[in-house]
């Protein structure tokens, strides 16, 4: 009797110890995961901030060997590329989301599209780059900003489609029925009632897709190509911030390394500001149509 009691006591002590060890390991894992984040941000700020100055935002790269110079053309180039990408990716993506949520609900076709969108989301961006290269660059015989923008835009479509669908599905059916009951045509009710109600979520989804492609380098290497000079033409090769960071990071020159750190800091800052701004605005419901 006594022995068994003692045994059960040691056993429960063992179990409690296992519990503590598991908790400790989970906390350790969390710390180990958060650590690289701080390491990366810390070094970005530490190394990037010292190389940031007004020239960085106003000047184009100097030839190798000369001090100074900036990435103005890359920042503008990224803006052009992302503009083209958004013009393609956001309307098509939202349209696809509307179809999945409003028209195709429950059909086999819609399920297949949903699945394909998820799978397309996982296709490596470099593969997307090859496809756009052979679709647009080869027939046109030259690299162009347009092809880079299309590659990024296509990568936005699956993300925007899926988030739009999820957000639209959360709009209660009674809202749609109320609109139809007032005699509003269905297309009008979808666009100005359902989509508008879901707009904070939809905009968040668009911004997340935008932030994701803003840092993409791989599909641009052989579509937009990069450019050391000013160019905003869609038919010419164009510079892009991530592309420029890559080129400078693997170059042997100390001066270019510093520019790469500064560029990375600017890129990260733009992405984080965009994402958190949209999250803040969406959560506050300041956007029009948020109820």
């Amino acid at each position: 009797m006594k022995a068994s009691l003692r045994q059960s006591k040691t056993r429960s002590a063992m179990r409690a110890a296992t519990d503590h060890v598991a908790t400790g390991l989970a906390i350790l894992a969390t710390i180990l995961v958060i650590a690289p984040l701080f390491a990366i941000f810390g070094y970005l700020v530490f190394k990037g901030a010292s190389s940031l100055n007004l020239d960085f935002f106003l000047k184009i790269p100097k030839p190798v060997g000369e001090e100074g110079g900036g990435m103005a053309n890359a920042i503008v180039g990224s803006a052009v590329l992302l503009g083209v990408a958004s013009l393609l990716g956001i309307p098509v993506g939202i349209g696809g989301g509307i179809y999945l949520a409003e028209f195709g609900r429950g059909t086999r076709f819609a399920n297949a599209i949903r699945f394909t969108a998820d799978v397309l989301n996982g296709v490596p961006s470099i593969v997307m780059g090859i496809a756009i290269y052979s679709l647009i660059v080869v027939p046109q015989h030259h690299f162009s900003a347009f092809s880079g923008g299309v590659a990024l835009g296509i990568m936005m479509i699956p993300t925007v489609t899926r988030t739009t669908e999820e957000m639209l599905l959360m709009v209660p059916n009674s809202v749609r029925e109320a609109a139809l009951g007032l005699g509003v045509p269905n297309w009008r009710s979808v666009l100005s009632i359902t989509l508008k109600t879901a707009s904070p979520g939809v905009i968040t989804g668009c911004m997340l897709a935008f932030a994701r492609v803003a840092g993409e380098t791989a599909p641009l290497i052989f579509t937009a190509l990069g450019n050391q000079f000013w160019s905003t033409s869609l038919r010419e090769p164009i510079a892009a911030l991530p592309l420029q960071i890559y080129v400078y990071a693997i170059s042997p020159y100390e001066d270019q390394h510093r520019l790469a750190w500064a560029g990375a800091l600017v890129l990260i800052a733009l992405i984080v500001i965009a994402v958190s701004l949209v999250r803040y605005v969406a959560s506050r419901g300041i956007l029009k149509g948020a109820s």
């Binding site: 179990r15 409690a16 296992t18 519990d19 598991a22 989970a26 906390i27 350790l28 894992a29 969390t30 995961v33 690289p36 984040l37 990366i40 070094y43 970005l44 098509v92 939202i94 349209g95 696809g96 509307i98 179809y99 409003e102 609900r105 429950g106 699945f115 394909t116 799978v119 397309l120 996982g122 296709v123 490596p124 470099i126 593969v127 090859i130 052979s134 679709l135 479509i157 959360m170 749609r176 029925e177 139809l180 009951g181 045509p185 269905n186 297309w187 979808v190 840092g215 380098t217 791989a218 290497i221 052989f222 991530p242 960071i245 890559y246 990071a249 390394h257 750190w261 990260i268 984080v272």
Partner: protein, 380 residues
């Protein structure tokens, strides 16, 4: 009298309506099975709309947008197959496993654009090994984070910590690469790798485990220590796929019903036993799915890997040796590919990558979906 009339006639109309609904209803009010989730009121209202043409046009346009996703996948596949024809005709399936042996040095040659030798084996090997190293590092950490965040974490920490782990996913690949080249690689070379080298080349350990082939000069940590190489690629990939695995694992763990946890606790389980028996066991399929999804991301990761893996098309057992991956060879050599065969070989590598990632992603989605289906969509 009228009451009995109705009673007699009612069953007939119901029978007629159920047997052939399309014929008894006017045009436009089709009660197809596909439209099941849409309520009767809405169907009635749709049918009364005066703008049926605009409505039909609108829904067609939206359908076109959705169908464009199919079109994109089909186009990518078509272009890749078309442009890799040349290499496929020349090398066939041997592209993926053969190599030439140098007559002088007796060393294998896999990839030599100058002599027109294009065999992709070292790229497959590099991609596979760097992804496996990444999984070995990332999976325990990601599951640990997911457990902490869903089951143990105080409420006020949960939101910020989840945000921080997901912020890791927002960092662009090229920034990871930059950080890896200038911070991680020197750190591995100076601090981390020497520890492994000492352990794996310890004379006692070599004597005891030499037969396994994983220790010693020809083992996992033999050869020169550049800092760059498979190990560096694996570590940076691990950091990059962590947020994907942990956020999906959290999702499937959240999908486990609370009754499971309560039942385990009611039987006297400690918290860890509750997590192990109540949560992890129920979520295991979804967790496997999220790991496979992380693998899919690791396989296709390009820029960061290209910057640290060393870019040498060779196969070596040592994790310290320089290697090459499928995605990074495309990124590095595509724009300088001079002749058509070279280009075609690179595109064939891209095609292989495309097929593998599609299979891996589809598998992962099915597994995750099997667990989270039926729970409402998560919003944050």
């Amino acid at each position: 009298m009228p009451v009995s009339e109705i009673r007699i006639r009612k069953p007939e109309t119901v029978a007629a309506a159920t047997s052939s609904p399309a014929s008894t209803l006017p045009d436009g009010v089709s009660l197809s099975a596909a439209a099941q989730p849409i309520s009767d009121i809405r169907k009635f209202l749709y049918a009364r709309g005066s703008s049926s043409l605009a409505d039909r046009g609108f829904s067609g346009l939206m359908m076109l947008c959705a169908a464009s996703i199919f079109a994109i996948v089909a186009l990518i596949a078509f272009e890749l197959v078309l442009r890799s024809q040349l290499s496929w005709q020349k090398f066939g399936i041997s592209f993926f496993y053969k190599f030439n042996v140098d007559p002088d040095t007796h060393l294998p040659t896999f990839w030599d654009p100058v002599s027109g030798t294009f065999y992709a084996l070292p790229f497959l090997y590099g991609t596979l090994i760097s992804s496996l190293v990444a999984l070995v590092i990332a999976v325990p950490l990601a599951i640990g984070v997911a457990i902490f965040l869903t089951e143990m974490c105080p409420k006020f920490l949960r939101g910020p910590l989840a945000f921080l782990t997901e912020l890791l996913a927002a960092i662009p690949s090229v920034v990871y690469g930059l950080w890896a080249v200038f911070i991680l690689v020197p750190m591995l070379r100076e601090d981390v790798n020497p520890i492994f080298i000492r352990i794996f080349n310890d004379p006692y350990i070599v004597k005891a485990f030499g037969w396994t082939g994983i220790v010693g000069e020809k083992g996992f940590f033999g050869g020169a220590n550049y800092g760059l190489g498979m190990m560096a690629a694996g570590v940076i990939l691990a950091i990059m796929i962590l947020p994907i695995i942990s956020s999906l694992t959290r999702e499937v763990m959240n999908a486990v019903p609370h009754s499971q946890r309560e039942a385990a606790l009611a039987l006297g389980a400690t918290r860890w036993e509750m997590i192990r028996m109540g949560v992890l066991r129920n979520a295991r399929i979804g967790i496997v799915g999220s790991i496979i999804l992380g693998l899919g991301r690791a396989l296709g990761e390009t820029m960061a890997v290209a910057m640290v893996i060393g870019n040498r098309p060779e196969i070596s057992k040592s994790l310290l040796s320089l290697g090459y991956s499928m995605a990074s060879v495309i990124a590095n050599e595509f724009s300088e590919a001079s002749d058509n065969l070279y280009l075609s070989a690179l595109i064939e590598i891209g095609l292989a990558l495309f097929i593998v990632t599609i299979i891996v992603n589809a598998l992962a989605r099915v597994l995750v979906w099997a667990v989270t289906r039926g729970t409402p969509a998560r919003v944050n």
